[in-house]
């Protein structure tokens, strides 16, 4: 009996989350499509031909997976942090807290909402990319798996940000000062093999490097890092963040007095 209850509750949260970002698609779906178009125009078409090839691919082909991954990461994170903080701010998170829903279901619902937006934006940006270059998919299973795992990971990260956030500034600080630098330095626009050894080593502490490269491996078949290592790191991050989210929810941190 409870399984049906949990499934219905889960479906309700997911529908609510998808409706939320679909209702405001001008804020949620369109901006990444526009900004990624600019990346393709500037870095791909204007600067790219002067750079030449990278790892045997045209520059625009080389950066396309990274740009798609960047939009997925940003969207998954932004969806969960803004939705969960909004629910806290307007106090309608209480609708779920008073209901007979385990925290696991609440968390899964929000994460699925984040994954849905990440994938939707990823799909739109991929369509944009097809206007500028040809895309190949060398390893479809890896592409799908890595998109799923990465969007889960950043949805979880957004959830933690949402739990601790007390004001709107708090949900802008992490994306601006942590996420964006990590993405830009995570091998989206270059191969770390171009960097001096010390910077190559430092880059390997950036988890986004593993996601971008694993995705690039899935699409192009090339990667700066070992693909098994990338999967292991992403899975470890997912398990750790998921456990942390559940712990924070169970303790009522940021949501109960």
């Amino acid at each position: 009996m409870n399984t049906n209850l949990y499934l219905t509750a889960f479906k309700t949260i997911v529908i609510k989350e998808v409706n939320r970002f679909a209702r405001i698609w001008i804020q949620t779906i369109l901006p990444p499509a526009v900004s990624m178009t600019l990346y393709f125009v500037i870095f791909g078409n204007l600067i790219g031909p002067r750079i030449g090839t990278m790892e045997g691919f045209d520059y625009i082909q080389y950066i396309a997976p990274g740009i798609i991954m960047m939009s997925i990461i940003n969207s998954a994170y932004a969806n969960v942090v803004s939705s969960f903080f909004g629910a806290k701010f307007q106090r309608h998170i209480e609708e779920m807290l008073v209901a007979p829903i385990p925290n696991l279901v609440i968390l899964s619902g929000y994460i699925t909402g984040g994954v849905a937006r990440g994938m939707m934006v990823g799909f739109v940006v991929t369509l944009v990319a097809l206007f500028f270059t040809e895309l190949h998919i060398e390893h479809p299973v890896i592409v799908v798996t890595i998109v799923l795992l990465t969007s889960i990971l950043f949805s979880l990260a957004g959830f933690i940000n949402g739990i601790f956030a007390k004001k709107f500034d708090d949900i802008a600080i992490i994306p601006s000062f942590v996420l964006t630098p990590l993405i830009y330095l995570g091998g989206v626009f270059y191969s770390i093999n171009l960097l001096p050894e010390i910077w190559q080593l430092i880059s390997k502490f950036n988890p986004i490097l593993y996601m971008v490269n694993a995705f690039r491996y899935g699409m192009l078949g090339v990667s700066d890092i070992n693909i098994q290592t990338a999967f292991a790191i992403i899975i470890i991050f997912n398990v750790t963040l998921f456990s942390l989210c559940l712990y924070l929810l169970n303790k009522g941190i940021g949501i109960k007095s």
Partner: protein
């Protein structure tokens, strides 16, 4: 069966504020129960703990014999709550809000739609079902929260100041609605600052002050403790001098209005005899204060003196 049983409930907030100092409370199934107290007495904290929005420090709560800690899912399914402050999404419309709430309680969309229609109609919100909730007036927002609390048809309905800021007409219609819901078997626990509301609606009452229950009894037996009531009499013919009313404490408020304190032992017959003897015609009479209000204030004053 007890709809609600609270044992030794304590809550100390971070920072040291002791909001509840070990309260015990029982509410019978089918009761219409008032939880009264001044601002900051601990009413909302108690409700917050019952509904899992506030972590308790110590104590035990049973809802229809189910411990809310060990049988959380079952217990929560039996409770509906309309909080004091608006807590629904300002971007959703009333229909979406009710459908979502039903979904959180495991009710499928088809059943949820029927329930949402039923309660939105009953509370006069069906015509506004597609309006963004932020555009609703204060009274409609309160009704929406009551409809939302009922959509999973709980056995225990908790209303935290449901008529605060609501106009008189709407308040009366909400009272009728709540009386109807209670008659159908739903146990209702109500907090309110309108003591007239508690007196009119509730069978039993508890008064909480400074984190302690200072009175817990039936409204009738509480009112029976009231020794003196103050009445206002409107006179047909204005009087230039105060009438001589013996054995009663009498004040002339203006030439047409008398205020008289009447104890239970004195009654009204003797007073009216004196009015008749002096050819004073009374147009109307009323209580100066709500009766429960007089008691409430005196109990709080006693509690304050005791400490």
């Amino acid at each position: 069966m007890k709809a609600l049983k609270i044992s030794n409930l304590k809550k100390t907030y971070r920072g040291g504020l002791q909001a509840l100092k070990g309260i015990d409370l029982e509410v019978d199934e089918g009761d219409f129960f008032a939880l009264l107290g001044p601002n900051g007495a601990g009413k909302s904290t108690t409700i917050g703990i019952i509904t899992s929005l506030v972590n308790k420090t110590e104590g035990m709560i049973n809802v229809f014999d189910l411990d809310i800690d060990s049988h959380s899912v079952e217990a929560k399914s039996l409770i509906g709550v309309a909080p004091q402050e608006v807590n629904f999404s300002q971007f959703e419309n009333p229909l979406e809000i009710l459908l979502n709430q039903a979904g959180y309680y495991g009710i499928n969309r088809k059943t949820a739609y029927g329930r949402a229609e039923k309660y939105l109609r009953k509370l006069g919100l069906w015509g506004k079902r597609n309006d963004p909730s932020r555009t609703l007036s204060g009274g409609f927002k309160r009704r929406l929260m009551i409809a939302r609390a009922l959509v999973h048809e709980p056995k225990l309905l908790i209303l935290d100041e449901p008529t605060a800021g609501v106009d008189v007409e709407l308040r009366r219609s909400m009272w009728d609605f709540l009386i109807d819901i209670n008659k159908q078997g739903t146990t209702i626990v109500l907090t309110t600052h309108y003591l007239e509301e508690a007196e009119n609606l509730c069978k039993n009452v508890a008064i909480i002050d400074k984190g302690n229950i200072i009175e817990n009894t039936s409204v009738r037996s509480l009112l029976s403790k009231l020794d003196i009531e103050t009445f206002i009499f409107d006179l047909k013919v204005p009087q230039t001098t105060p009438p001589k009313i013996s054995n009663y404490v009498c004040h002339m408020l203006d030439q047409s209005t008398l205020q008289i304190d009447i104890s239970k032992q004195q009654g009204l017959n003797n007073l009216f005899k004196q009015f008749s003897a002096q050819n004073i015609e009374i147009l109307s009479m009323r209580n100066k204060y709500n009766r429960l209000e007089e008691l409430f204030i005196s109990l709080l004053e006693d509690n304050s003196t005791d400490k």
